[in-house]
Chain length 210, copies 4
Amino acid sequence: MAGFDVIRYGQAAREICDAGRFLYGRGWSPATSSNYSRRIDSNHLAITVSGRHKGRLAEQDVMVVDLTGKPVQSDCRPSAETLLHTVLYSDNEDLGAVLHTHSVKATVLSRLVPAGEHLVFEDYELQKAFAGVSTHEGRVEVPVFDNTQDIAALAADTRQWLADHPQQPGYLIRGHGLYTWGRDMAECLRHVEAFEFLFECELETMRVRG
Amino acid sequence: MAGFDVIRYGQAAREICDAGRFLYGRGWSPATSSNYSRRIDSNHLAITVSGRHKGRLAEQDVMVVDLTGKPVQSDCRPSAETLLHTVLYSDNEDLGAVLHTHSVKATVLSRLVPAGEHLVFEDYELQKAFAGVSTHEGRVEVPVFDNTQDIAALAADTRQWLADHPQQPGYLIRGHGLYTWGRDMAECLRHVEAFEFLFECELETMRVRG
Amino acid sequence: MAGFDVIRYGQAAREICDAGRFLYGRGWSPATSSNYSRRIDSNHLAITVSGRHKGRLAEQDVMVVDLTGKPVQSDCRPSAETLLHTVLYSDNEDLGAVLHTHSVKATVLSRLVPAGEHLVFEDYELQKAFAGVSTHEGRVEVPVFDNTQDIAALAADTRQWLADHPQQPGYLIRGHGLYTWGRDMAECLRHVEAFEFLFECELETMRVRG
Amino acid sequence: MAGFDVIRYGQAAREICDAGRFLYGRGWSPATSSNYSRRIDSNHLAITVSGRHKGRLAEQDVMVVDLTGKPVQSDCRPSAETLLHTVLYSDNEDLGAVLHTHSVKATVLSRLVPAGEHLVFEDYELQKAFAGVSTHEGRVEVPVFDNTQDIAALAADTRQWLADHPQQPGYLIRGHGLYTWGRDMAECLRHVEAFEFLFECELETMRVRG
């Protein structure tokens, strides 16, 4: 397989750096947590190097991997969770960006959902912010996967779930954070904002209702 | 009817873009939600094009509609909720701006108010921020309309309610957000700030009192 | 009585404008609420004109009044609460600045404290931020006055209370906000920050303890 | 013992000033609270002068002390809590920076933990942000020392505790705040962010669970 187009890599890297400044500024990627990726072509994606400060990303913090997660033209170590990104791109050729964030709200909610249950959003106008949703009358189900250091196993689990639920816009990992995706970076960022809004609505309601 | 004055359109559009930067920055218009309008003349208003990022509005994101909601000199699609704006301008010639925002607090409170009841503010000094209120000793009642995809029906309901309560400064739609208005953009923005302040006071009180 | 020094007025006005940008930015002076003052000399103070946006104050938004609250060399209308400022300056010649703010936390807490009781801070290290407090082992008592549109009566009440408690750094008005003061603007701003910190600590504790 | 390298002092001071702008901006060092230090060499550290505004630190707000806490080439008064810094540097030659912050969350949590108990973090992915932690499956224990004006006694207590628990990344003082440290300023700031994230997770969970 031939290499990747360096112009497209550069643009993907810039979009990732800009996303990082936004997400860190909101408090959703603290303390070098989180990882982000952007498709370059059918076999390559740009992804954040492991352990970098997400509010100060520059091009040297973004590397290229192929769809098996192997670094391409780089000695850097990609995010430990690279496989969670690559399975998403492998199974959906329209998917252009993946953001994994790590907010307080996502973390707390993911620990409060009982094992085996999903987080469910209903009757929120903002559900329409998710691609393909045109009414508040539907129901968005967000699965919560148990956290693990065995990323390959988790990647297989998420891949199976997505095959069964191709329209869902994201999932949570317990005590860990959110994965969401989109056709391009703008759509993916809109999904992060919508999820964070809905997480905060749910928590605020729980605070008040006790 | 003749066309609109393009200088006045340009000024209205700039005011809308500036309002968007402020409201998005506060977190009150996330994920391309919300819509804003500004009167141009007795038959035309400037209004946001459907689906745009509210923190990065530019002139191409603001179009003109007449008081029936029909686009004027534009092929863009206006906000799906345009009729909720036009009924306000039609019935009150002093009204110059309408802002529909979409905060977590407004969304959560609107879902907590029991069906058939209003949200009521009493004994808050900040009630004086609403036009025409000169004491904290009054009572501000905010109705909560059920959310619907039938905007024409909702427009008719809000119109009837406003005819009966001409002094009220805003209303909520359940799970959806706030509509408020003013003589000009500055007054309308002051109303948004006052509502958001009072929403947060009510929620904070509910959190503590349980 | 001779006029005031215009250079000192200009400096006082700039300090007030800068304070406004800070306090509005924190969300403590929303929707044209709040008023601020700075002593010019033994008989004059600079104070905000009524109804101005506190995040965008410029020199034309700051006027001069004498210690009876009468405008000096100005046709503007001073804040409706000017007398609450002047009684503080009249009785304490070392006092150089007064800030009245209007945060959600101050508003909510002031409504939760039972009638006739004070808000009390104990065992917080940050109590040392108040002028004259050198240990966390003391006790800061913050009275809560009932809100009223009769500012002259409220001014007399606060004056009496301060005569009896000369070391206290501030008071609340129910449903309305905080008054605090200092030798200069820097000390007064430090007091606002300390009060807001302590208000939030108290509310957070109440949220958790229920 | 010879003096310190002034170039290294200048760099340490700049890192402290930058840290202050960040920490104050987040609301974690309000009202002139907090103190920060950075190692210069085996016997000297740069530390904030007592009582300065942490969001506006400049080089004149950072002085040098030796490992006994005595000022070197300065007439300024170092932070009253200087000994809490020096015992950390004395016992760990790899330690390069110490940050004491003073957030609402740290203050409230430290008062809620029952006397004699520790705050414990378990099953949070973000525990991996602490140096030396490579899995979320461990357990981070944060002791809570009682607040006191006797800093020498508190310094001795913390020193003993650290000798017994050399891998722990920080501790709390009741009603007062957080102490954390790192090899360099970047690691130390990452620890502050991780602690604040975890404090907020714990409080949010307590709010919801009641």
